[in-house]
């Protein structure tokens, strides 16, 4: 099982803050997960094309080619703007 979280403008775009998803067959990294989510169509198709999309795996910011596995928490969000 994956926990997937969406924050800020990304959350608004896909209309969802969080979901649980069984690790899809053949998905081994963040980019693969994005391709899988894109198959849902609509706003999900554009997810991978968001300029500067950021990703965290298990609450660590990582590159989109980083590996993911069962039990991971994966989060998608725009560049941060705190402070």
């Amino acid at each position: 099982m994956l926990t997937i979280l969406y924050f800020a403008s990304v959350r608004e775009r896909v209309g969802r803050a969080a979901e649980e998803l069984a690790l899809p067959v053949g998905v081994a990294d963040v980019a693969g997960l994005l391709r899988h989510l894109g198959q849902r169509g609509g706003a999900w198709e554009g997810l991978a094309r968001i300029a500067n999309l950021r990703c965290a795996v298990n609450q660590q910011m990582v590159a989109l080619d980083s590996p993911i596995g069962d039990g991971d928490e994966v989060a998608f969000f725009p560049p941060v703007t705190g402070g």
Partner: protein, 153 residues
């Protein structure tokens, strides 16, 4: 080292007093307060909402502070960041660094702010006369963070 995420406001004076706790090794206390401005990108801002990634936020801030503690000889560090609804003139963030000497305190305080701005999972949404909008990340913040990766940074 103290990191706090909270909706409530903070009192800078009592936070700095607590950080110093009358430690006679401390010769320098550098601090920074970030505040909500009433303009942003040319538009008036009537309020702001700060979203974050609970769970990751503490870890990201602790990692930034940990890196500062490795880079400089520091005696204590405090980071408080607010989330939720904020109004112009409200305090957003406090970073305070205690050290024996001022060079370390100043550098570490600026470093923590630069890294917080580019690595800690907070997002600002502003309410303007044209409607609500997500604040765009600033190129200048990326450059500010990158300078700490240069030799001598």
């Amino acid at each position: 080292m103290h990191v706090r995420i909270q909706e409530a406001d903070f009192d800078v004076g009592s936070e700095l007093t607590a950080l110093r706790r009358a430690d006679p090794r401390i010769g320098a206390l550098a601090s920074f307060v970030g505040l909500v401005r009433d303009v942003s990108g040319g538009s008036g801002v009537s309020e702001m909402h700060l979203e974050h990634y609970p769970g990751m936020t503490d870890k990201a801030l602790a990692a930034i502070v940990g890196e500062a503690l490795q880079r400089w000889s520091l005696l204590d560090v405090l980071v408080i960041h607010r989330v939720g609804r904020l109004l112009p003139t409200d305090q957003i963030v406090l970073v305070a660094v205690a050290a024996a000497h001022r060079a370390e305190a100043f550098s570490a305080c600026a470093f923590i702010m630069d890294y917080l701005k580019t690595r800690a999972p907070f997002w600002k949404r502003e309410l303007t006369p044209e409607g609500a909008r997500w604040v765009e990340a600033r190129e200048a913040d990326d450059r500010a963070a990158e300078r700490w990766q240069q030799p001598g940074g």
